[in-house]
């Protein structure tokens, strides 16, 4: 039972991470691989606010999420003002640099990790564990619904248009930079929320849990479940959290299970990209409809002046 509760919490946390990553890379079309560092900032932020500054755990969780969202602006604002392409490179630097700082500061616990984090519930019984499952579950569903609400309706229309053709979008008077920075901040805030929930359950944070490689795991969840679908990333998170655990039950030698998990992750991404790029929940991809026969126009590109107009 305890094992199941822990697994459910792990799934819930990754549902939040995958959904918010889907918002950034899927809906926003913003190529970033810094999602793990915002996961870390939320975790460390919340843990330190509660442990060293004596804040209550619930407000610390909220503030931890806000810390991650605010920190994202420091990355996205300068990068996105130049061009979308810079975000990828800037995000690599941000991810590696900040994690290096966390590993070398005393008050974050350095490379040894941060221990003695205050729990959300004072006692650790099976009841409080189940209560934690409920809290994470509610917040995970709330995240999925918040992302859906954001990308539907008039704001979602703007996000879609921006992704389709940013220059044409700007020429209509729309501030694409503001939309990108906002989307990135909201996505990062949810990653921070996931980090804070992680910290106050496991009560220990190690910098290794936030390495750049985890953005590959999150990307796998989004791709397998379905980019730009509502529940796809959640399904991806569930599958990719549960499958590796199932392998553990096979009682294979540990020398095998480690590499096997990596192979399965990579294999899944390749399998899906080749056979089902829309993911499990995506609607079937079809090539754009052929334009109807031009009844009112000569072939595109025929821009010679008509006979009568030539001097």
């Amino acid at each position: 039972m305890e094992f199941l509760a822990s697994m459910a919490i792990g799934v819930g946390i990754f549902v939040i991470l995958a959904s918010s990553f889907n918002l950034i890379i899927g809906h926003g079309g913003l190529m970033s691989i810094a999602h793990p560092i915002f996961f870390a900032l939320g975790g460390y932020g919340s843990a330190l606010l509660a442990r060293d500054l004596g804040l209550g755990v619930p407000p610390a969780i909220l503030l931890g999420a806000l810390v991650a969202g605010a920190a994202s602006v420091a990355l996205s604002l300068p990068a996105l003002r130049v061009s979308g392409d810079y975000l990828v490179i800037a995000s690599i630097g941000f991810q590696l640099g900040l994690l290096q700082i966390i590993k070398n500061l005393d008050w974050t616990g350095g490379a040894g990790g941060l221990a003695n984090i205050r729990p959300l519930f004072a006692t650790y019984t099976i009841d409080t564990k189940l209560a934690y499952v409920a809290v994470v579950g509610v917040l995970a569903v709330a995240t999925v619904l918040a992302v859906r609400g954001l990308v539907a309706g008039p704001y979602g229309r703007a996000i879609t248009a921006m992704r389709d053709d940013e220059e044409a979008f700007r020429s209509l008077g729309r501030n694409a930079t503001a939309i990108k920075v906002t989307l990135f901040a909201i996505g990062s805030m949810f990653a921070g929320l996931a980090g804070a929930l992680y910290a106050h359950y496991y009560l220990y944070l190690s910098p290794e849990q936030f390495e750049i490689l985890y953005s590959a795991a999150m990307l796998t969840m989004v791709v397998v479940g379905g980019v730009r679908t509502t529940w796809g990333p959640a399904l991806g998170a569930l599958l990719l959290q549960v499958l590796p655990q199932a392998i553990n039950f096979l009682k294979l030698p540990t020398a095998l299970t480690g590499p096997l998990q990596g192979i399965i992750f990579t294999g899944l991404v390749l399998f899906f990209l080749f056979t089902r790029p829309q993911g499990l929940l995506g609607t079937r991809w079809s090539p754009p409809a052929r334009p109807e026969d031009d009844d009112d126009a000569p072939p595109a590109g025929d821009i010679m002046p008509p006979k009568t107009g030539v001097p």
Binding site: P154, R157, F169, E292, P306, G309
Partner: protein
């Protein structure tokens, strides 16, 4: 007459290629000006400099008297500059109606706060009505729920014109509005552009279809190698053997 758009000494070079060399021009509200010249003369680049797609090396852009030279693209659009593109550039994932609904000068959902703003449903309804009215003008109402990719190039042109007209500002830049358009749509566009000018917009048209330019434009500018070589009526310009030679490269 009020000057809606003015450029002074507008200059732009890409390496050794001069796309604009000290261009100075005024565009008055209510007047239609043709911008003609051979391919590569810098006509589309002129639109890109005015709208802020590319920053100018030197010179100034004034939109309704406001210096917009240092302003980003979206701010210039909000000052009242609407444009179409040579390659149409509709949003492929949106319906035709949504393509128009995203295009007013002031959009109510620039931030997620709009999702909880009071009166948002009413705002959406009014916006939809405005977009449908614009589609009505180009007779594209029947295609409101279709995706642009399903429609003919000529229809996409008409829709892109309607999208530009969602900006109620007084500067309208049309980049080859007639390319790919013939038949009844041809006359419809002509009438529409005339009506927009009569409504107080300064219109500037880049167009290779000389008869269209002659029918519609009050005056024209002849561009060559990033310069405005001559200004005058369309008939004057096309009567000049020298310009005709430059145009056709004979």
């Amino acid at each position: 007459m009020t000057t809606a758009l003015e450029v002074r000494g507008l200059t732009k070079r890409f390496g050794g290629i001069v796309v604009a060399e000290s261009i100075a021009a005024r565009f008055e509200a209510g007047r239609i000006v043709g911008l003609i010249g051979p391919n590569g003369a810098g006509k589309s680049s002129f639109f890109n400099l005015v709208t802020g797609v590319v920053p100018a090396d030197a010179g100034a852009v004034l939109i309704n008297g406001t210096d917009a030279t240092r302003l980003p693209m979206h701010a210039r659009a909000r000052l009242g500059v609407a444009r179409t593109w040579q390659h149409v550039r509709l949003f492929a994932s949106l319906t035709v109606l949504e393509n128009l609904m995203i295009a007013p000068r002031r959009y109510h959902a620039e931030t997620p706060l709009a999702l909880v703003a009071p009166g948002r449903h009413e705002t959406e309804r009014r916006l939809r009505e405005r977009a449908m009215a614009q589609l009505e003008k180009v007779r594209m109402v029947d295609f409101a729920q279709r995706r642009p990719g399903e429609l003919s190039f000529g229809k996409q042109r008409l829709i892109s014109l309607a999208r530009a007209l969602m900006n109620d500002g007084n500067v309208l830049l049309l980049d080859e509005p007639m390319a790919g358009v013939e038949g009844p749509a041809y006359e419809a566009i002509k009438a529409l552009v005339r009506a927009e000018a009569a409504g107080g917009r300064a219109v500037c048209i880049v167009e290779h279809n000389i008869s269209f330019v002659r029918d519609l434009c009050d005056s024209a500018l002849f561009m060559f190698q990033g310069r405005i070589l001559r200004a005058g009526t369309v008939s004057e310009l096309i009567a000049s053997p020298e310009l005709t030679e430059l145009y056709f490269g004979t």
